[in-house]
């Protein structure tokens, strides 16, 4: 949304440069702009409409400024100006010409406020105004805007635009917009039927909504019938996609569980430490992300999109380091007494929570999403949000990395040696204390990485970890302690089951059913999904 506005501005600037001075009717523009200086939303709406009616591209930047909330009323003379932050005060510009009008006090101007209704009319007006823009992206979003507004006034501009349009995709978008507008008029039946066909081809929720309005509104029966038919077709299509949608949700929930659990699969699964402070490691990871982003906000706001990438190693190191300290300080005294580790780490988690609470305060901290992680895209009938997509990818990446680390590296070999037979390992000259510390550090570090990802979808608060600790244990135990693949399969299974239950049972009941499922499953496979069998277990 932000960047589209930026593009619009550029485009508009180009336009102003390209077009000959529109002296013809530019004359009354300033007056109309001045008309925006009203506090009452309804009057403001009228003023916007007047401005839009001129159809003069020169007003686009004015409306964009209003949309962006930069348009202000100068108290001294009631002039409408664009105000940009400059230190403690403002720098003022003329909304039409963009000419600088010098600085002003903070209190010298008052922002012209808009509400949702006005945002809609602005969108529509700008849509109509920017259909001719040289920038394809702008034209596309303009078409979408008109599609939403369904403003009949847009029709003839659209016709002209469609005639000139070279990009096929944009042309379809424009035709759909036109169809939407047509359905909003009392155009002849044939034209409407054609329009309905065009909309039906679109076949998504917006199209559905539009057609529904047609059905609800007064229209000839033939039109209504056609609309109903189209609706039926779209709904059928969407129903088919629904299952896939659930699968995707399951996958993404599963990968969140995987991320949360995988660190535990190391500390608990491999080392046998019932690490109740695992959740807090995740939380620490999330807070490291917050710290890193604060740095970026302060020193390199331009590079904010990279903050997450920087946060990853930081979180890993911070959480891992704390993990090592914990292992050296507490855990190492408790090997062979798993239940004691439960108690100690529980006490530890209380302290870590309180520590974070005293350091960062109890309330949520803002962790922003980089542009490449925000928004969503349509895949057939699926809406896939980039954030979730990246988390899925990330989860699998972490899993693969860990697998390699344990299977292929000498460090991994040592870890497995120590966990399988500590005495023998040390007899063979492996420095078991180091290995223990590093292993626990690894698990904690991975938890930290999970924190980076979870900070994108959940609260960053001292309680963050508490929300995941139980689920994590469920996943690891369900999958089979000490088996990474078990953790993977366990996480994905539970996630998917949960998401397929949710539509029928509802969120709460769904979760309950999953828990009961786990309890029963453990009865069938007392050592989880991927249990070692045979005499190895006895030994």
């Amino acid at each position: 949304m932000r960047c589209t506005i930026r593009r619009l501005l550029i485009a508009a600037a180009l336009l102003i440069a390209a077009l000959p001075p529109l002296a013809a009717y530019a004359a009354d523009l300033p007056a109309l702009v001045r008309g925006l200086g009203v506090s009452n939303y309804d009057e403001l709406d009228k003023a916007i409409a007047k401005l839009a009616e001129t159809g003069d591209p020169a007003v686009a930047p004015v409306l964009e400024a209003l949309q962006a909330g930069d348009l202000n009323l100068r108290k001294s003379d009631g002039a409408v100006v664009v105000a940009k932050r400059a230190g403690s005060g403002w720098d003022l510009f003329d909304p039409l010409t963009g000419a600088a009008l010098g600085p002003a006090e903070r209190s010298a101007v008052e922002r012209i406020r808009i509400n949702n209704a006005l945002r809609r009319s602005l969108g529509a007006a700008l849509g109509a105004l920017t259909l001719m823009s040289p920038d394809p992206a702008v034209r596309r979003s303009a078409a979408e805007a008109v599609f939403k507004s369904r403003d009949p006034a847009g029709i003839e501009i659209l016709d002209r635009a469609i005639a000139k349009e070279t990009d096929a995709g944009i042309r379809t978008a424009m035709q759909r917009a036109r169809a939407a507008a047509v359905l909003n008029t009392d155009a002849p039946e044939a034209e409407k039927l054609a329009a309905i066909e065009i909309i039906a081809a679109r076949g998504d929720r917006d199209g559905l909504g539009l057609l529904n309005t047609v059905v609800n509104a007064t229209a000839p029966d033939a039109v209504k019938a056609a609309a109903r038919e189209a609706i039926g077709a779209i709904e059928h299509r969407l129903a088919l996609w629904a299952a896939a949608q659930n699968l995707w949700y399951g996958l993404s929930l599963g990968s969140v569980l995987l991320l949360a659990a995988i660190g535990l699969a190391v500390t608990f699964g491999v080392m046998g430490v019932i690490n109740m402070a695992h959740g807090e490691m995740v939380m620490i990871g999330a807070y490291s992300t917050f710290m890193v982003q604060e740095m970026f906000r302060a020193y390199a706001p331009g590079l904010f999109d990279l903050s997450i990438l920087v946060a990853l190693p930081v979180a890993f190191v911070v959480a891992g380091g704390i993990g090592i300290i914990i292992e050296r300080g507490i855990i190492r005294w408790l090997y062979g007494r798993p239940l004691e580790t439960l108690l100690a780490t529980w006490g530890l988690s209380l302290m870590l929570q309180q520590a974070v609470r005293s350091l960062f305060g109890p309330s949520n901290r803002e962790v922003g999403a980089p542009s490449w992680m925000s928004g969503a895209f349509e895949l057939g009938g699926l809406t896939i949000t980039y954030g979730r997509l990246w988390i899925v990818v990330f989860a699998f990446a972490v899993f693969a990395a860990l697998l390699v680390a344990l299977r292929r590296t000498s460090f991994g070999l040592q870890i497995r040696a120590v966990t399988q037979n500590r005495r023998m390992a040390s007899a063979m000259g492996i420095r078991t204390p180091q290995v223990d510390a590093l292993t626990f550090g690894l698990g904690s570090g991975i938890a930290g990485l999970a924190g980076v990802a979870l900070s994108q979808i959940d609260n960053v608060s001292p309680n963050l970890g508490q929300g995941y600790i139980i689920d994590s244990f469920m996943v690891v135990v369900f999958g089979g302690v000490g088996n990474l693949w078990g953790t993977l399969v366990g996480a994905l299974t539970l996630g998917t089951i949960n998401k397929f239950l949710e539509p029928y049972a509802g969120a709460v009941l769904g979760k309950i059913l999953v828990l009961i499922f786990i309890i029963l499953f453990i009865q069938r496979r007392p050592r989880g999904l991927f249990a070692l069998r045979g005499r190895a277990v006895e030994a």
Partner: protein, 430 residues
């Protein structure tokens, strides 16, 4: 034999605990004010701020010379988001510390948990958070909003200004959303909304995965009628909810969401750019531009030494409640609960939105109702304000069992659930 020593220790400890707690509060030259807000556990996220604001108010008052010539002394305890502990701490404050009044609690369950204690020991509780109503106690003063001071005006706004015809009532599964949604459902139906145009959805506390539900909302919204979401989702679950809304691209211009539990504090945890235009209904916003408010914000940020620290509605509720209590005490000339309960009714103090709030006989207060739209800076733009003040309605007119009930704590009626039909005190009667 060692064992017997340790066991002896238990006895000693018990007795010590006993005597230690039996010592009556000595310092009589100060008036003690109890602060009962969770500083740890899940509720700390919201309540810690209220503890701070109370400390500030007490400090301010002492600068002004205290109350009845005595300094105020704040007694802070931590009920740790644990409901039985709330009752225990309330008892501790009233019996051990002998506080004159208690400011605290958040969420109905904590209030319900302490209610019997306050009634038994005849203490005073000022409850600063919006709640579901359906309660009126002689010992509790409800300075937060009742449903009619928040939910109903918000729905009216959406219906008039946004022409909303289709409603999603989404809430966390506990008593406040349940009741509020019951009231709203009845209200909407009374306005001629058909039941197929209302979707009610409940989620557990701290629900983190909103993909399916947001998708359902989208689906429900594509029926060709203007749709809005009325959210009574509880604090913790809001951040993931709004993040999901933002990501799935539900814009306020398409499906606006109006929330009753999302204020400046909650938004502090979210990047609000994708949420511009979504609404909240409160009785106060930090963006209220009145001298009182600007002064308050200045003091607050100075007190917390944090120029970015935000203010929110429950904080204002505490400001109002505290000032009312001070005024009532001075009017009564004593902190004795009975006297204060009598004198506080009718007391009116300036609120921060440029008007006066008065304590009504039903122990609820009058407030303006503001509707705000989320801005990219985490603040709210006030887009609507009720012309007058709204009186808190403890017994909703839209619930069959409570519409006949009223509450009036003045003599001679002095009843929290007077039934106008039967003319008897005590609910529906039998």
């Amino acid at each position: 034999m060692k064992a017997s020593y340790t066991m002896g220790a238990v006895a000693g400890l018990a007795i010590y605990a006993a005597s230690g707690m039996a010592v009556p509060a000595l310092a009589q030259d100060t008036i003690k004010v109890g602060i009962l807000h969770s500083l740890s556990g899940t509720m700390a996220i919201s309540e810690t701020t209220l503890k701070d604001v109370m400390l500030m108010l007490v400090e301010e008052q002492n600068k002004k010379g205290g109350v009845l010539g005595k300094k105020l002394e704040a007694v802070v305890v931590d009920p740790a988001s644990n409901w039985p502990l709330f009752a225990e701490k309330a008892r501790e404050l009233l019996t051990k510390d002998k506080v004159a009044a208690v400011f605290g609690c958040w969420t109905s369950v904590s209030r319900k948990s302490v209610l019997p204690v306050f009634e038994e020991l005849n203490g005073l509780l000022f409850y600063p958070v919006q709640y579901e109503g359906e309660e009126s106690s002689r010992n509790v003063f409800y300075t937060g909003a009742a449903p009619n001071q928040q939910a109903i005006p918000a729905v009216d706004y959406l219906a008039e200004k946004e022409k909303v015809q289709r409603w999603v009532l989404a809430g966390t599964d506990y008593v406040y959303p349940r009741t509020t949604n019951k009231i709203l459902e009845a209200y909407l139906k009374s306005k001629g909304v058909k039941s197929e145009d209302i979707l009610i959805n409940y989620t557990p506390f701290g629900h983190a995965d909103w993909q399916s539900i947001v998708a359902d909302i989208k689906k429900f919204g594509s029926a060709g009628k203007k749709t809005a979401v009325v959210s009574t989702i509880n604090g913790d679950a809001n951040v993931p909810f709004y993040k999901e809304l933002g990501n799935q691209g539900i814009k306020a211009t398409d499906i606006p969401v109006v929330a009753f539990s999302v204020g400046e504090e909650e938004l502090a945890g979210i990047d609000t750019k994708p949420l511009i235009g979504h609404l909240a209904a409160w009785n106060y916003f930090q963006s209220v531009s009145t001298p009182e408010n600007e002064d308050f914000i200045k003091k607050w940020q100075a007190f917390t030494k944090n120029p970015k620290r935000v203010t929110n509605d429950p904080m204002e509720a505490h400001v109002i409640g505290f000032n009312m209590w001070v005024k009532a005490v001075e009017k009564a000339g004593t902190t004795a609960p009975d006297a204060v309960i009598d004198s506080i009714i009718g007391v009116s103090v300036p609120n921060l939105s440029g008007g006066y709030s008065a304590m009504m006989p039903n122990h609820h207060i009058t407030k303006p109702v503001l509707i705000g739209e989320v801005q990219d800076n985490g603040q709210f733009d006030i887009v609507s304000k009720t012309p007058g003040l709204v009186v808190g309605d403890e017994w909703s007119d839209y619930l069959p069992d409570s519409k006949d009930l009223i509450s009036d704590w003045r003599a001679p009626m002095s009843c929290g659930n007077f039934n106008v039909k039967t003319g008897k005190c005590g609910g529906k009667g039998t």
